[in-house]
Every structure is written in C-alpha cells, then in structure tokens.
C-alpha cells in the first residue's frame, strides 16, 4: 500500500520530486523467444515519449510489459520501487494503459466505461463513492464527452471511441499513461484531434505519455523524445531531428525517404524507386 501514489506521503513527495519511470535493460520473452531485449529508457511526467519502429519490432510487447500484462526481466522502477512487486491495484495507480484495439463491450454506457478507470482507487468489493462519480463526470466534461454519457460504447465511431478510451485512462489518474497506436484507426482529422488532446492533457495534468506510433512525421510533430525500436532493441533515441534521418530509416525500415524540414519538424517523405 505504500506504493500507492494516492497515499498522502507519496503524493506529497510528488509535488517536490517529479516521479520517474526508470527502465533499465528490460527484456521480454514469449514462449522462450525474446521479443524485447535490453530496452533502457527514463521517463518523467510532462514528457511525451514515442516508440517507433517497423512492424514486429516489439513496440506493443514493450508497452504490455510496462503495463504489467507481460512478464519482464531487468529493471522497471518507479521512484526507486520495482513495479513488478506492486499489487495490480497499486500498479494501476501509477500506470494507465490504452490498448491498440480496446474492447468496447456491447451494452455498456460511456459513463460506466469511463468509471471503470476508478477501479485502481477502490477496494475489490467496494462500490464507487460520490467522489468517483464526480471524477468521472469531470473527465467527461473535460473531453467534451458529457453528452455521450448515456451512449452505448459499442455504438461510437472510431474517433469517439479513442476519446472515451483516453477518458478512462484519465479517470484512472495515473501519472504515466501508455498509448498503443492511439491513432491508427483514425482519419487525418480525428487523428489530429486525438493527438492535440493528448498533448494538452500531458501539459495540463503533468502526465507522462509513452506511445507507439506508425506515422513518423506525426510522431516527430508531437513528441519530445523518439525511440526507434528494431528487432526488439532500441537502436536510436533522442529528439525527432536526431532520430528521423534518412540513414536511420533506410537502415531499419529498408526504405528510401527524403527528410524535409517543415517549420522545424522533420517531415518523412517516402521515395518511390523508378522501376
């Protein structure tokens, strides 16, 4: 219970010391096959770190290990404590997770779905208090979802679903949020809407965001820190300008690209080889 960031002593320290997620030589194996190897990364609140890399590089597996879904080896510490020693409840108080393809159960109302985020703050057999419903309502208002409260989550469109899923992670009120491909299923308009939302929340709420993303240009526009994963390993990491170079992309994606400077952001433009 001392690991719960909601507890007074810890939350006091949160005001002075910024909580850090320290990942050191983290490896993940599934069926004895190593999927993620030697990943090291430090994340502080207020930062947006983005994991990029070709398909099968182990990006989702890495996030699942951070979320506690998959077992991992190596060091995974939050404020000096090993996350894997935490109870499910305590871990969820630190780390929120939005899956790549979240489950939206038919017949579940948006309000109830978002309120599931309060699970981490409730004892197993307790019911939600008026504070939990108030928190849920606040998040729904903040994300302009309040008029959707009564809607069936299964009936929402792609963009609405993504916002509802993020709302649930916010109701969980954990300082670290993992987003697995938050924009894959969205058109360019909704993609931007969701990314702007994440960016605003990270700044306003002092949340650390770790996301995976496919679109290289977009990942460079929104995030502070890029990690290029390839074959389970972190190959290059740093600012978008450092990571998004045609050499790096050629080496790991096996494709020729031009990098164009777009108002300070590197824009990745695939080049079609003449047949």
């Amino acid at each position: 219970m001392t690991n719960n960031p909601d507890k007074k002593t810890v939350s006091d320290s949160r005001n002075t010391v910024t909580p850090t997620l320290a990942i050191d030589h983290l490896s993940v194996s599934i069926d004895k096959k190593q999927i993620v190897a030697d990943m090291s990364l430090n994340v502080t609140v207020g930062q947006w770190t983005c994991i990029i890399g070709p398909n099968g590089a182990g990006k989702s597996t890495f996030l699942k290990a951070l979320a506690g879904i998959l077992k991992s080896e190596g060091s995974l510490k939050v404020d000096g404590n090993d996350l894997r020693g935490f109870s499910e409840k305590d871990r969820a108080c630190w780390i929120g997770y939005v899956a790549q393809d979240p489950v939206f159960p038919r017949g579940m109302r948006v309000f109830d779905y978002v309120m599931l985020g309060r699970t981490a703050h409730l004892n197993l057999l307790a019911s939600e208090t008026s504070m939990d419903t108030a928190m849920t309502e606040l998040v729904l208002r903040d994300l302009d979802l309040i008029d959707f409260s009564h809607r069936d989550v299964a009936s929402l469109s792609g963009g609405e679903r993504q916002r509802v899923a993020i709302a649930r992670a916010l109701a969980q009120a954990s300082p670290f949020i993992l987003l697995d491909e938050p924009t894959t299923a969205l058109d360019v308009g909704h993609q931007q809407e969701v990314l702007e939302l994440i960016d605003r929340l990270r700044a306003e709420r002092k949340i650390a965001v770790i996301s995976t993303m496919h679109d290289l240009t977009v990942s460079g526009m929104y995030t502070d820190h890029l990690v290029l994963m390839s074959q389970g390993r972190s190959t290059v990491s740093g600012s978008p300008q450092e990571v998004l170079t045609s050499e790096n992309i050629k080496a790991h994606y096996k494709v020729d690209v031009d990098i164009i400077d777009n108002a300070g952001f590197p824009m990745v433009l695939p080049r079609r080889n003449a047949q």
């Binding site: 699942k64 979320a67 506690g68 879904i69 109870s87 499910e88 409840k89 305590d90 871990r91 969820a92 108080c93 780390i95 929120g96 997770y97 899956a99 979240p102 489950v103 159960p105 038919r106 017949g107 579940m108 109302r109 309000f111 109830d112 779905y113 309120m115 599931l116 985020g117 699970t119 981490a120 409730l122 197993l124 057999l125 307790a126 019911s127 939600e128 419903t133 849920t136 309502e137 729904l140 309040i146 409260s149 009564h150 299964a154 969980q172």
Partner: protein, 345 residues
C-alpha cells in the same frame, strides 16, 4: 437518463420487483390441488412467524399452507434466485452470454457428486450432500473451462458451451453408470435427475438456505467487478483488477451455490440463462443492475414454473426440470440465433 450518472436500479424497478415477489408468493401458495383464496393466505401468513407454527388447532388450509405449499414456494424462490444469479455470474466471468450452470456442466457435476455420496453410504448425512455436490461442480467447471479454452477455437463463446455440453454428457453418463451399479438406491437418485421440488419440506429449505445465502451475498458484492471483466483480462488487469483471484472467487461462489441447490432439487436447467437474458433486453448489460434483478426474478421465475409443473397436467405433476427445459431450450436456440452475427465473441 439526461444527467451523467452511473447505471443503477431505479426506484420504480425496485418497487415493481417487490410487487412481483409478493404476488408470485401468493399465487404460488394459492394454486394447487386445493385452491386457497388469496385472502386466506395473506391472513394465515400474517398470523404466523416462520418456524414457530405449531398452533393448537390448525385448520386444513393452515396445514396445507404451512406444511406443503409455503416450504415448496420458498425453496423454489431460493433455488431460482441462486441458479439465475449463478448463471449471471458465469456469464460475467467467462464474458459469455450463453453461460449457465446447467449448460456448463456444473449441475451435472454436482449431480454426480451427490450420486456418489448417496450410493457410497448407507444413510447419507444431510450436510454431506451439498459438499459432495460442490466437489463435483468445481471439477465440472474446471473441465469445461479448460476444454473450452484450449481444445476449441479460441474466442468463440459457442466453444465454451460445446465443451459444457460434452462435459455434462460425460458426467451424466458416469452418474448413470454409478446409479446402475447401485440399483437399490436408484429411486433416491432418480428423483433428482429430472429435478424436483415436490418432496420439499422445511428441512430442505433449512439445509440449503445458509449455503445459498452466503453465496448470493458474495456474488452480489462482486457485481461491480463483473462489469470490469467485460473489457477482457488484459485491460482489466491494467485497470487494477486481480483478474485470476477475482474470477476464482466468483466461480467458487457460483458453483458452491449451484451445488447446494442441485443437492436438494436435482437438475433444473436454463433458469440461469432465461432470466438474465430477458433482463438484459430490458435493463441493459451492466452487472451491477443485472445481478440483483437476476436474484429477484430467478426466484419469481422458478416459483411460477413450479406452479405450471403442479397444474398443467393435474393431478399429476411434471418434474420442474422438465418444465424449465421445455421453456428454456427453445429460448436458448432463439438467443443463439439472434446473437450469432452480433456479439457472440
């Protein structure tokens, strides 16, 4: 529904439920070989405190009400509540709208457990039956769950039901074999295979009510947790739910309750699927609403089914298990058909 609130049971629904229970109780006591006017029933019940009903000169109606009808109606109420709540609990933990104690083989397992207990002793101590049933029930649910997950194609909920049918058949076959080898006990055993409420006296009610009450209280407390299961194990885990521990607790409580019910009434199928499903159509899929209402209307349903069992072919009685199967099997097929394309995953 215009304000932003969590799903909960409205006051209107609570009142309707209370009325339904009262009316059902009175109907259940009134109807039978001797019709008793509702006024007499209410007066009679008003005059008594349960379990201290040895008045000096009991009237005929009084005897019928207290010795025959009321214990039977109460037993149906308790068992129906348990079966419907257990069905609802299995549906939540397995994320499968077709789960039911009967279809998962839990009832058959409990039946086998009790049969073994009956034949292996000269006179079975009363309290042994629920425990033997419980052991059988747990073995059955474990078998069904592991078969449904591994042998058959991953996520389809029909796979679980198919596994349940196979397990139920296997256990029933073993039970029949055990029964055959012990012909002298055959009558005692046979009464249950079809499900019965007719030998019910206060003794049966007293035997199972404590088990069932505890299980129902535990299961009701898990109703919020059942809603978390709906998002799948991985997401539930990241929300802070100790998934395996919670699932085990729900399955054990639901199986223990089912076993207790089966140990006195025998195999009564489909209550756990009919009642929650009708409720889903009316109040939606949230277990925090479904669980209490399944408890209430499971009881109501079984009392009414028992009235049909007593009256349809009067003076003969139809076994209650036959009545619920006659209503339930077509209903099950209907759900299977209507859900096939929608959300059977």
């Amino acid at each position: 529904m215009h304000t932003a609130t969590a799903t909960r049971i409205s006051r209107k629904t609570w009142v309707l439920s209370a009325v339904a229970v009262c009316v059902t109780l009175i109907v259940g006591v009134c109807i039978g070989a001797v019709a008793i006017p509702p006024g007499d029933v209410i007066a009679e019940i008003g005059n008594h405190i349960p379990f201290t009903h040895h008045s000096t000169q009991p009237s005929l109606n009084s005897t019928i009400i207290w010795q025959l009808r009321l214990p039977r109606v109460i037993l149906a109420l308790v068992v129906g509540s348990m079966l419907a709540t257990a069905g609802c609990s299995y549906q939540g933990t397995f994320r499968n709208p077709l789960a039911d104690p009967y279809l998962l083989g839990v009832s058959a397992g409990a039946g086998l457990g009790a049969t073994v207990a009956i034949v292996s002793q000269h006179s079975v101590a009363h309290w042994v039956l629920p425990i033997a049933s419980f052991a059988g029930a747990l073995i059955a649910v474990a078998l069904t769950y592991s078969l449904g997950r591994s042998a058959l194609v991953g996520r389809s909920s029909t796979a679980l039901v198919l596994a349940g049918v196979a397990v139920a058949n296997l256990l029933t076959a073993i039970q029949t074999l055990v029964q055959q080898r012990n012909a002298e006990k055959i009558r005692e055993v046979y009464a249950w295979v079809l499900g019965r409420l007719n030998t019910a006296g206060w003794g049966d009610v007293r035997l199972v009510t404590p088990y069932i009450a505890i299980c129902l209280i535990v299961l009701l407390r898990y109703r919020r947790v059942l809603d978390i299961f709906a998002v799948g194990d991985e997401e539930a885990l990241t929300l802070g739910l100790p998934v395996n521990q919670a699932r085990a607790a729900v399955i054990i409580a639901a199986s223990l309750g089912t076993a207790a019910a089966v140990s006195v009434t025998g195999l009564i199928g489909f209550v756990g699927i009919i009642v929650p499903h009708i409720l889903r159509l009316i109040v939606g899929n949230s277990y925090r609403v479904l669980m209490p209402l399944s408890l209430i209307f499971g009881g109501v349903f079984l009392v009414l089914a028992d009235v049909i069992a007593r009256t349809a072919l009067a003076p003969q009685e139809i076994p209650i298990g036959v009545v619920t199967a006659l209503i339930g099997a077509p209903f099950f097929l209907y759900i299977l058909g209507s859900r096939r394309s929608a959300d059977l995953t």
